[in-house]
């Protein structure tokens, strides 16, 4: 679906800015970690039950966007930037660990301090909500790509081929 240089950004940037639309028709943007694997026709974002507002917004209006613009910690040298607009679908089945093993494996590797949250019984009691996840699948419709990350320059509009 994406050219290799864009795929590298989506696969490696630790966060992206995920925007939904509120009931008052205002944009609401939060940093999240996205999940994508080559060959998938959608990008997955998860949100804990502790912060479900994104899901409520999507249930009213499925139009969303993702901006991958912060290369910190990613090891990607191009510092490119990509904005993706798409339609979101919420999987209302709550996922904890099962079905998200690869997601947690990567998250806990990228975010090592999170490994300590569940070491104690008290920690497990207090932060169990963090591991109760709703999955949001975003089907990209249009993208804009800044090759060097210079956001003052005009980006290239990308046609997304869902057949690949």
């Amino acid at each position: 679906m994406f050219a290799p240089e864009i795929r590298e950004i989506i696969l490696n940037y630790r966060t992206c800015e995920f925007a939904t639309i509120t009931k008052n028709n205002k944009p609401s943007t939060h940093p999240v970690t996205a999940w994508y694997e080559a060959g998938m026709d959608s990008i997955m974002v998860t949100t804990s039950l502790g912060f479900p507002q994104k899901v409520y917004n999507i249930q009213r209006n499925p139009r969303v966007s993702l901006l991958f613009s912060n290369p910190t910690g990613s090891g990607v040298s191009s510092k490119g930037m990509v904005a993706i607009q798409g339609d979101a679908r919420v999987d209302e089945n709550i996922a904890c660990i099962d079905g998200l093993e690869d997601f947690w494996r990567r998250m806990l590797r990228w975010q090592p301090h999170a490994q300590k949250y569940h070491r104690s019984a008290l920690g497990r009691y207090l932060v169990d909500w963090y591991y109760m996840r709703l999955r949001v699948h975003v089907t990209p419709r249009r993208a804009f790509y800044w090759e060097t990350g210079d956001f003052t320059q005009n980006p290239t509009e990308i046609t997304i081929n869902h057949a690949v």
Binding site: I21, T29, P31, F51, R63, T72
Partner: protein
């Protein structure tokens, strides 16, 4: 006061993420570096010409993390975007706090009270029992990471 608070935010982040809603009704985000217009209490933003940006409700998100995805901090400014004499202007309306607040009660509220209350409400609304986290599976994943 609002303008001064945002000016202080601008000093602690190299740039921000402006989000608007385009003509097709999709949100669209782009990095930008707001420039303060103190007399008018608003901010200039320079945006690429070929993006489908239009005036209307907008938000500015500022966020950062370190190489280990730690020390997360964020703050959002809600407002409106308008075009005047060929320049884009962001008129702020409200600051919404985000990640990384440091006062004791704020930390408790952000990391425990609010998410636990939200979780309880979500489960009640959907008439769902509280899921039980299979901690042993999570421990196994952590162990695998440590081994590598």
């Amino acid at each position: 006061m609002l303008f001064d608070d945002i000016a202080a935010i601008l000093e602690s982040y190299p740039n921000g993420v402006l989000t608007i809603i385009d003509e097709a009704g999709y949100p669209l985000s782009v990095r930008c570096q707001p420039r303060a217009d103190q007399p008018q209490q608003r901010f200039y933003v320079r945006l690429p010409d070929n993006l489908p940006i239009q005036a209307g409700a907008a938000s500015l998100l500022f966020h950062a993390h370190d190489e280990q995805l730690d020390n997360l901090r964020s703050v959002t400014v809600q407002g409106t975007l308008a075009k005047q004499e060929g320049q884009w202007l962001f008129q702020p309306e409200q600051i919404i706090s985000g990640l990384g607040r440091s006062k004791f009660f704020e930390v408790i509220q952000d990391t425990l009270l609010t998410p636990r209350r939200n979780t309880k409400r979500y489960l009640q609304k959907h008439k769902l029992p509280r899921p039980i986290i299979p901690w042993d599976k999570l421990r196994k994943i952590v162990s695998e990471i440590s081994d590598h």
